[in-house]
Symmetry: D2
Subunit: 434 residues, 4 copies
């Protein structure tokens, strides 16, 4: 977790203190059930809960771990220091991974909740800006080249739709990752009754893992990180759009620039899209977790521990950086300055050639062949492009066109409202009918 | 598509002939609706369907494309050669991507159907083998080291569960990828009524894309290829397991070896797990589509065409190689020879030390501290490991143990059925209660 | 290999016919040495060369392979059909991988030669355009925002330098990949004298692999494909620059647009940067080979065959697509239209605020503190940005400035040649002193 | 940087304190040259060095950065707090990236030095173990199946050769990454004489970057991280080998297991290859830096800042985790226990069928056709495989064989020294002639 790209809420989920707290809960709940099943004394189970309001000494656990070279044993040893001899009934029949993997499930689920909140903030911002600029006309571009008019609202709306799809994917991934496995050394429940697993799952609000080995199967984690990669790519998508809109020659939008902020040590006039450039980089970083997570799936036999070091990295990193990026995305969208005047100016730069398509259709409908229509439009379009002026005027001066279309008919091709007649329909699809 | 890793059914989906056939259907259905809306003559729309039973001349289209450098225009020109002048009404108000992207959706959906069939075959094979070997005892291994007994059936069952989860993911990805966009040059429906899109979507059995630009948003495709990456990783998972089981020192399983087959030019006795090694490689290959598909999401403004060359590669390649790999996986599982005698032999190699955990519990329950129990088991386990013999005998000769446990109690720790008492429960969870 | 992104020269390297020809040469040279060593009869070795001018029947070999399920045995069987009984002396003591891996080395080396030729063409084009536009002034941009002036020549020059570094990397990778291993089943030369390897290496112009297992170590291949990934990224770099320069609002450069070419089926006026967008996608595709090639390194023990299916994909694909992309890059650069007038126009858009840095320095040198200078420049820069006009005039009207700098001093800050005084130095560094 | 996988030496390189120290040195050296050139007062340049032995207050700089939102300005402000008003002459004509990128070059170069030291330790360990086990016979395996004998020394030797190649690659990458750019806002040296760059480069022991934009070109970094990916893959390679050798059924080698260490909380007898499994995971983690580093190459125009957040992650992470992994690899190799008795045992498991190849050759040389020889060997090999016994005895009992070979000739095929006659040659190639 890069500190500057980590919010404290997410850092907290991955802190040693949080981890040991979750381990404790898993162990204590498991011991409750073991007591109920008569495997361990009821008194002992109750005694373990004494640690509920105690604080675990991370340094002490680290110290023990350095000696025994085993994290769960180190924790259990420290637990015994806290609650006394009854601790020996804890972890009965469990294997370390029962605790570790169930804990990771809890952490990833909690991380998902934070991420969903971040996505909701992004969605709310996008929706607000979409309706605000629903009819703010601007030029649409394919290949970076002016095409036909669209609206700024439609831009926000399509990012909304993408984030909304990703939200559904994350809800699904969260559901899939939230499983509890207390199945013993090799997943056979030889030494621990499945009822213990069911009890812990219930207490920790997780699903039961139907079949585990020593570990929870890693396709769940791979699917989870792949979903984070998709969300990161959505952030990159909106970031790249804003970076384009802010470039000096376009200037249709601009990241909010606070008073105290200095854009560049050398060029004080510059207002750089540094938030969205930063988000573009963060997207690459989050996405880098996807392949290693997939490489983690094929563990040897009933488990090897190669996934562990990977997850110590990508678990905190990908969730923290994505969480940060979502909030940066949200605040960027919330504060984004849309220059409507520049939108209009750019829209009109090229003399209305973005209406070529309509002229083409009008000519075809007036009886010209596709090829002839194309040639007529192309020669006037290129004239406008090369020499300037307005396409509508060039067309009205072209006899090849005027034998087919009247001036009124030509001018009708340049009516802007024509382009926006279905914006409501699209908004209804994306945001629901009003 | 590497020919040797491509089945004809999948190759067919990606053939030029299939592509033009789909283009034709999209265009013809769109023209139907345009006629109904009065945009083009009804006669013309009907005339276009003349091409329904004609064959498209791929070479001729290529020839035209070389001249006009535009694939859809080349196709439309050829269509005019087939159905005559009425073809000029085709494609009215559409943009090339309306056709290309909707076609890709159809191809990926059809590819999904083949992949689902492949997965079903894998699932059926895994289920069959799981029940066949439900109680075939073998040693479970963590870290490649003998741990506790499990069954071959549980191995098959866990792969079944993973493939079943992936199947659900693919069903979801198929649903998400199957959208139709006929929204014009920039996604505003300026020149084409949304009703056309609705009609084509219905005719082609697709969903309507709620909001598109010039193209269908690429997060759908990224999610699709990420899902293929997960399935590929599941294949790698089962492949690595089989490769381990087949290695000379293990020999618990073996890929079917046909009579005519030669294992090696130099060493005729070798029976190599070449199918599963091949599958391991194919998994890497399929997975390599995931990152580029995610890089495709952030197109510039209302589209750039950078995604296209990527998809010309990964579209056919990832689906074809995964399809092939699924069928190879299925037939490998179907034919897999399980050496039950070797399973038994390996299980007993180390004198029963896999029951250490049970002895540990028995000692704890007999009143020993966790640390003392651990030490007692460890010293006898290490003796067995180092000197051979049976753990049960070593324990019975260790006074530290015998003061706590009787011979009967010690022997009870070595009862194998103990390990398998919950196999039914697990099978019920995975395959449903019988 | 996607046919439309594959040049015939590269396709030829990967054809079955080429592969069998290389296999033949390896086997024939090996047999020569074996004969010299007295292991096989000299007559037989000579007889094998009869196949030198014969054509190998690919279909026939495929037919045999379907039966024996082993490609090298299939080839050897066919060779016996061509040259008769003497063929039985061929492949004596060799293992299949000796032939396969040495063949792959030859193919990758030949592919490197084509790639180097492609890079040379790119380098020549970049150099030519760099000198042509050495002093074509244009605005330099950081964060997409106007910064200070630079020249189009410097843009070409920096891509030249990057391609030149990559060329050196490819020369190195080619050297590293070009090794010959004829070391037998497990790399011990048990059944084949190392002299055979040395002879074949010499005859095929390869280096001897110092230590192999059954296969040539895969770090060589991973390094090779990583290098291709770097070259692909360089192509993306130049492609992204051109796409930016061609966008409607910038228009400083434009891909060559031939007469017959149609930009869009719908908008005839459009001149889209489709070559560079295509190159951007191809870069993603080529780069996708890097990770699987690295995953191939850790083969099991003295080899497993998982690398093989990966290489059947990435071997031809990455080399062919990169080769195509290099030539497309070269011809794009060769034909690129640079609009000098637009470069000038854009340079002057913002009233000379790109000289802010110089004013800042002048103020500091005139005795103002860094903070004061910054504030003075910032307020005039922002005025120019917001209200238009020329920065030079705003400064001359600002008393805070004029107490420190005379009008002449202010105007001297706006002398353009100031920015280009070191262009020669840079060109000398990149292209060598003239 | 995951603390448990980071050595303090590497953490130190990436500490804020180290970063500011390097920034200071760059600025101070640059100011020296600026003074020499008469751009700033000589006194001021000298005054700046007052900070040489002062400590930078990281918290204070952070505090300033929160206000000005610019890291270099924050540092310069703090520098002024330390050395007084003369600090205003610092950074004259420089741009932030001049400092940031040159600093990163210094850090990556220092990181390379640590990595090279780590590699040297690995190489020394491999070499020592290679010579120690030069003639320790063991079975070689292809596809995980017993093939022919090899030696443990050859295993170590081939890893040595791979690490040695990677060492050369890292030396090259270190050389390439170690460049200094002080070229101003857009790389034209408009406001800073190239002599400043040359002076700083010399003082910091870097090369001059021949052509930069605002930043040092990112192909250098991409090449660097790709090299780390290759080294990580080499670590995975040796780790996977050891994991295989340690598995219960093989047991030819074993990671050193210290007295205090507990292998598993549940199964005290287990000695798990956890170091090498951990290394396998770390390799995945390091490798995940490769693709984002390549995605960083195509920055927009003369730079965008998207690379920065990526490098804040992968810079420290990939170098620290690789550094840790190298030392873990080295100590693992140094301590690795080789069970020579188990090597022998495994070698003889299958009745000598690994000599099949030799028998095949002997038969061919005795006049049998390749097909006949193959059949004869195959039937006896399969007999040995299926029924046990020794291949040599089965052959001597097979009349098809004995008509061609005498008992002596058959037995000669089973002489083990035959396999190792070229081990010296290989060692000479790898380690140099003794």
């Amino acid at each position: 977790m890069i500190p500057r790209y980590t919010r404290p809420e997410m850092a907290d989920i991955w802190s040693p203190q949080s981890k040991y707290r979750i381990w404790f809960e898993i162990e204590a709940h498991a011991t409750d059930k073991l007591a109920e099943l008569g495997v361990v004394p009821a008194d002992a189970a109750q005694a373990v809960w004494k640690a509920k309001d105690m604080s675990f000494d991370v340094d002490r656990i680290d110290e023990i771990e350095r000696e025994v070279k085993h994290d769960v044993i180190a924790f259990l040893t420290h637990l015994a220091e806290l609650v006394g001899d009854d601790a020996r009934f804890v972890h009965q029949g469990l294997t370390s991974s029962d605790v570790l993997d169930t804990c990771l499930a809890v952490q990833l689920k909690r991380a998902s909740d934070l991420l969903l909140a971040g996505m909701d903030r992004v969605l709310a911002a996008l929706k607000k800006r979409a309706f605000e600029h629903k009819m703010t006309a601007c030029i649409g571009r394919s290949h970076g080249i002016h095409a036909e008019p669209t609206t700024m609202g439609l831009k926000f709306a399509r990012f909304y739709a993408e984030f909304d799809r990703n939200r559904a994917r994350l809800v699904q991934a969260r559901e899939e990752i939230a499983t509890c496995a207390i199945s013993g050394a090799i997943g056979t429940y030889a030494n621990v009754n499945p009822a213990v697993e069911a009890h812990v799952a219930d207490a920790m609000d997780l699903n039961v893992e139907p079949i585990s080995t020593q570990v929870i199967p890693r396709d769940r984690h791979a699917a989870f990180f792949a979903t984070l990669g998709l969300i990161a790519s959505a952030i990159e998508n909106v970031a790249v759009e804003v970076r384009h809109l802010q470039r000096s020659e376009v200037r249709e939008a601009q990241e909010f620039f606070s008073k105290g902020q200095k854009g560049s040590s050398a060029m004080p006039h510059k207002r750089n899209p540094i938030l969205t450039e930063n988000l573009t980089g963060l997207a690459r970083l989050v996405r880098s977790a996807v392949v290693p997570a997939m490489e983690n799936v094929a563990l040897w036999h009933e488990r090897d521990i190669s996934h562990s070091s990977v997850e110590r990295g990508i678990g905190p990193d990908a969730t923290a950086h994505l969480d940060f990026a979502l909030h940066r995305t949200a605040s960027m969208i919330e504060g984004l300055i849309v220059h409507e005047d520049r939108c209009r100016e750019n829209l009109e730069t090229y003399g209305g050639i973005h209406n070529s398509q309509r002229v083409l259709l009008a000519l075809t409908q007036a009886g010209a062949s596709r090829e002839d229509s194309y040639r007529l439009v192309q020669r006037n379009g290129m004239k406008t492009w090369d020499e300037g002026g307005k396409l509508v005027e060039h067309l009205k001066a072209d006899e090849g066109v005027t034998v087919l279309l009247s001036d009124d008919q030509i001018e009708a091709c340049f009516d802007e409202t024509y382009h926006f007649k279905h914006v409501d329909t699209i908004f209804d699809r994306v945001f629901g009918a009003s």
